[in-house]
């Protein structure tokens, strides 16, 4: 109990002490500052501005003596510079100031168009009837970085099949100090469709902030699928006024052989006679973009049927070419008449094979028909023999 009381006492003493010190300090500041009759000042008297930029300073005028009109002027103004004071939305020449009530006015300094970089000193002079105050102002004109655009491509050479989309990730850098509106364009073979994408949107014009980058995706797709294999250059350009950047991309298209099997008149049915060889002319086409190599021909026919090809293997079919192949088909001796499916197949060394179903209408020999006719002829012969032998009794 006693202890707690002591703590409380100490606390109270501390609080009282700090309050006293604070009071003493505030009294000291008021007393030590000497009143200046006329003051003109600004928070940031030394500024750095870019070329072609107008510097603006907020000036505060203060007096302690009494209400008075203060005329404002700029001294040591370099040639071709213009300085103007603004207040209340107008150009002013003087301000009215009273004690305890500061007047503010804006100073606008416009450098000439061809200003050289460097440090310029001005003096703002505030003059009332009795007093005069000066404010030195320092403006540093900084040289501006020239506008510059650059592309950065992650993977400038892509390799893919003709039917796929080539996607290039490109970063467009604006290395200048100026925001730019960039026009994007491309140069590529007419079969290519080149699209600039920012995010998921297609763009033609893109704003790029000063000293920043924009990520772009360039999608290149061939409009036709059987474009020849090879390397296709694509030049992309970003232009804003006189500033431009170009970069070269290249799309390497891998050729693909696509084998197609058909007949010269595209009729996929035919006749055959049991036990007799028939020939079927087939056409092996390569509709792809690369040569097909070692195309072997085969057939799936009903059992007992024999098939052979002339030639049985094609060493090479150039892209877009076609070669005629003769298939020799011999149905089984005892095959039943009717329709059968025979599948012809062309298998290239690499790539998918092509097959075609050929419908064979099997006919049987008409030899038995003749035998039947002979049977009837024998019967009729027997009748006529009987008639001539036994007629007229």
């Amino acid at each position: 109990m006693k202890k707690a009381f002591v703590v409380l006492l100490v606390c109270m003493a501390l609080i009282g002490g700090t309050a006293a010190i604070a009071a003493a300090q505030s009294g000291e500041t008021t007393t030590t500052s000497q009143p200046v009759p006329l003051q003109i000042f600004t928070t940031y008297p030394s500024q750095v501005v870019g070329a072609n930029e107008t510097a603006s300073l907020t000036l505060t005028v203060r007096t302690t003596t009494g209400p008075q009109i203060v005329a404002l002027d700029v001294r040591d103004l370099p040639e071709n510079w213009t300085a103007s004071f603004r207040g209340g939305g107008r150009i002013v020449k003087s301000v009215f100031v009273q004690p305890e009530q500061d007047a503010t006015v804006d100073l606008r300094l416009e450098p000439p168009a061809d200003v050289a970089s460097g440090t310029y000193n001005f003096t703002v002079v505030a003059r009332s009837d009795s007093e005069e105050a000066e404010l030195p102002v320092e403006l540093t004109i900084q040289e501006r970085a020239p506008a510059r655009l650059a592309f950065e491509v992650e993977l400038p050479i892509l390799r893919a099949r003709a039917d796929s989309t080539f996607r290039y990730n490109v970063t467009l850098r604006n290395a200048g100090d100026e925001d730019l509106l960039v026009d994007l364009s491309s140069q590529a073979a007419p079969v290519f469709n080149v699209v600039f994408k920012s995010g998921s949107n297609e763009v033609v014009t893109l704003p790029v902030k000063a000293n920043s980058t924009e990520r772009l995706t360039i999608e290149v797709k061939s409009l036709i699928n059987n474009i020849r294999a090879g390397t296709y250059p694509i030049t992309i350009q970003a232009r804003s006024g006189d500033v431009a950047a170009t970069t070269d991309l290249s799309a390497e298209i891998i050729g693909l052989s696509v084998i197609n099997l058909t007949t010269p008149d595209e009729r996929l049915s035919g006749d055959a006679e049991a036990g007799k060889e028939t020939t079927v002319t087939l056409v092996v086409q390569n509709t792809g973009t690369a040569a097909a190599r070692n195309v072997t021909l085969s057939a799936t026919a009903p059992s007992g049927w024999t098939t052979s090809f002339d030639p049985a293997e094609l060493p090479e079919i150039a892209a877009g070419e076609q070669i005629e192949v003769t298939a020799h088909l011999k149905p089984a001796e005892k095959a039943l008449s009717g329709d059968y499916n025979v599948t012809f197949r062309a298998t290239p060394e690499e790539g998918a094979n092509a097959s075609v179903q050929y419908r064979v209408t099997l006919r049987t020999s008409t030899m038995w028909g003749l035998a039947g006719l002979a049977l009837i002829a024998i019967a009729i012969g027997a009748v006529s023999l009987a008639v001539s032998r036994f007629g007229r009794r």
């Binding site: 009903p302 039943l336 008449s337 025979v342 209408t361 049987t364 027997a382 007629g391 007229r392 009794r393």
Partner: protein
């Protein structure tokens, strides 16, 4: 005796006129008799009733399954549950008509003593027998064509489509097969009517042969096949040989021949009769119809053998008739 025979032979060679003189008169008279006879009318009524019943049933089932080819052929071959297909009925109605048309062709003339009178006319025996036979064949053809037209007409009326050319061709070929199937039984009945003097005997003999082929021959064929090509080791070849033998033996029966020929013509998807090895069907497009020519080729042996057997049976009847003593 032999010498006498020789001289008559040489006399025959120099006979006057054509043996066909008066043939068409006989045919016309016989047909008139047939078409007005009560016997024939009863049979025609029977055919009409079966045709009406089976085709009506077939129409019901065809209408519920449209969109098929060869609808008009299906009219003949579709069976609705209690009734067999119309061609099935024809299988035993045709022999019945044929036998009833010819079993008393010659012997009733004998018994009524009209044969001498007929032959007293300037008509050869050739023309007489041929006329009898052709009249029977034509009567049967008339009945069958009428039935065929009736069914086809009914089909057009109730299905609302016309038969295609191939359907008509197949139908006509089927008629040809049916007529010569009847021709065999007609020639057989004619043969018996020349052999037996009693019409009842001739009729019974014809029906006995018919029943033998209709009912017993298939059993006998399998028994014979088991005896001739026994399966000793159960090899596939043995089974095949036996099955083939059974098929060939059953084909001696005109019934089997008619059924197979009908199947081949009216069911265009038929590729073969009897045993088909799975290897023969590999790659085959089942259910695709055979071209008409192929179907005809398939049933060609059937058709020609029906025609040939008809002609041969007639020849036998002719020879027997020519050698008979008829001056009774």
């Amino acid at each position: 005796m032999a010498q006498q025979h020789e001289t008559t032979l040489s006399a025959q060679r120099g006979r006057e006129g054509s043996p066909w003189t008066g043939l068409w008169a006989v045919v016309a008279k016989e047909m008139a008799d047939h078409l007005t006879s009560v016997r024939m009318q009863i049979l025609e009524l029977l055919i009409l009733i079966t045709a009406g019943g089976t085709v009506f049933g077939a129409l019901q089932s065809i209408r519920s399954a449209r969109g098929d080819n060869f609808l008009f052929l299906k009219l003949f071959t579709t069976s609705t549950d209690p009734l067999p297909a119309f061609v099935g009925f024809l299988g035993f109605l045709i022999p019945l008509i044929a036998i009833s048309l010819a079993f008393d062709a010659v012997n009733s003339e004998f018994n009524q003593r009209t044969l001498s009178r007929v032959l007293a006319q300037p008509i050869y025996r050739d023309a007489f027998l041929m006329g009898k036979f052709l009249a029977g064949l034509f009567t049967m053809a008339l009945v069958l064509v009428a039935i065929w037209l009736l069914i086809t007409g009914l089909g057009i009326f109730s299905l609302g489509i016309a038969p295609s050319g191939e359907e008509v061709a197949r139908g006509l070929l089927f008629l040809l097969v049916a007529i010569f199937y009847g021709g065999i039984w007609l020639a057989l009945a004619l043969l018996f009517s020349t052999i037996f003097r009693q019409p009842a005997t001739a009729a019974l003999a014809s029906i006995a042969v018919w029943l033998f082929f209709m009912v017993f021959w298939s059993m006998l064929a399998s028994m014979l096949a088991q005896a001739l090509a026994p399966i000793r080791l159960g090899l596939i070849d043995e089974v095949l040989a036996q099955a083939e033998l059974i098929q060939n033996l059953t084909r001696i029966s005109p019934n089997t021949v008619f059924v197979e020929a009908t199947m081949g013509l009216l069911n265009p998807t038929t590729r073969s009769f009897g045993l088909v090895l799975p290897s023969q069907l590999q790659g085959a497009l089942l259910g695709s119809p055979l071209p008409l020519g192929e179907s005809v080729l398939l049933i060609w042996p059937h058709l020609t053998s029906l025609i040939a057997v008809t002609i041969l049976l007639f020849t036998v009847a002719y020879v027997l008739f020519q050698r008979q003593e008829i001056r009774a």
